[in-house]
Symmetry: C2
Subunit: 326 residues, 2 copies
Amino acid sequence: VIKPGHLMQSEIGEQPEVLQRIIDSGLDDIRAVAAAIRERSPRFVLFAARGTSDHACLYAKYLVEIVLGLPAGLVSPSTMTSYGSRPDLRDVLVVVVSQSGGSPDLIETATTARACGAIVLAVTNAPNSPLAAAADLHLDVHAGVEHAVAATKSYTGFAVPAAAAVQVERKSEMVELAQRYRFADRLILTGRGYSYPTVREAALKLMETSYVAALAFSGADLMHGPLAMIDQNSPVLAVVPEGIGAVAMRPVLERLQSGLADLTIFGGASSLPFATSGFRIEHELPEDLSPLVDIIALQHLACEMAIARGFDPDAPRGLLKVTQTW
Amino acid sequence: VIKPGHLMQSEIGEQPEVLQRIIDSGLDDIRAVAAAIRERSPRFVLFAARGTSDHACLYAKYLVEIVLGLPAGLVSPSTMTSYGSRPDLRDVLVVVVSQSGGSPDLIETATTARACGAIVLAVTNAPNSPLAAAADLHLDVHAGVEHAVAATKSYTGFAVPAAAAVQVERKSEMVELAQRYRFADRLILTGRGYSYPTVREAALKLMETSYVAALAFSGADLMHGPLAMIDQNSPVLAVVPEGIGAVAMRPVLERLQSGLADLTIFGGASSLPFATSGFRIEHELPEDLSPLVDIIALQHLACEMAIARGFDPDAPRGLLKVTQTW
């Protein structure tokens, strides 16, 4: 008998290895792709993806805007695939991300973007996939075969293996937190800057495995409307690693505390005093690498909440591993 | 005694007038601004906004990508305001949208974007606001003073007054639908293409007035994960005006119907057969103008749900009219 969540738990635990594998055998490819892109000197970067890959893109968008100083956007694939838009994409780098490399709308987006003048980079976990073939450039995330429907390994396809290994070991704390949220029907997640993609991805994992109504907002957007929805019985979960995002989150945490919200914080020393229950982020990674590691505890939480509720996170209702979207 | 929802209802009803006012007295300004932008021939368009204005931007992003064929993105304001990013914005049009024109982070975004070489257009309901002063160009949405905290008038600041007037008259149908959802704790909204901003904005209005956990997904993203969350007791509300978006939504509606979801559809003849309960969209507007009108029935729904639940939508918990975000 295979236990519920067996696959998801084992793939959560593989992430440090995946990160190490990229450092050991992926860097040459990454450098070659970077050189090819630099040669074309793109002025803008567009990302196209769905689901979990879309959240990896949101993280990459922050890196492109802040570290590279290039304007960036997330494309709405339907504008090219359904509405027939043919935008002028000269000087534009289009990054298409798909674990399977098999999503028909993303393959079409890559093909159309090339025809419109873009340089197209496909990032997949499947070097022989049609998406890899349709792009100018390809990067493999080296995550190995992903069996779980709720993808976790292919989300953190980059650096920082040791800090990731520490997070993998925090499973028992997440088993406890899952008990705390056992009967919650909704959960509000919040973070700012680099941590916004983390809370978006955590919300998706919670929805697809334990069916809780998980709503993720940037701290700034939370103050515009959704704040009204929070009462003492609507738990809030904030991700606040030390750094600029933590400074920007401070008024949000103060507001939540003064409203007596039930506030769980994954954060550093500066933010934990605002928490009803706090989980200290132990690593000392710079803020821009923190998302690679912080998500792991939340993946555990999603898996454990599903199990606590009597669901099997390896068999979410009505989902297939490759989603066909046209 | 002023009845709960009085302000919100009266501002929902003012939308046809606002639209007419723009046609009567706003077109000259719009043409002048368009000419000034054309002269600079921007290659890329970025939008910056929060809350309801962000959803207006999402609609505008579809128009820019499809009608103008320009790549576009929604900026994460914190990259410039908190993380100090100074992107290369030559050839970039930055559109900053704020009802009040007073949001400090958006004023800073406008100032920084100009310093980085962008042409900056502010769209506000306050011509004398600091945001209007900080931009190269300004457009007034002519919505008049907005008293309700849950902004509705400034969302539809454009065309099509007659169709809007018809929608305003559908209030009684929404009173009934609000009774159907009286005890629902969550509500899933979905639409594709031009209707995706409509369901995002409807979800925000539902959250801020009636505190329901309202989750909006593009039809494509719904198939990646969140679908697992839907059972026979999680009502789904789809917005499907006739057009390309309706064709793209068809597999989503088929999937929801086969899963026995409780599915309310605001749509045309081609989609209504999939509905548990259907509301016919009567207007014959082209799909790309439909969002201006379709939102109105959903604003009514948010207002009526709040009232049915004993809340006053004119006084949402913990919200101020101008949100200060840094």
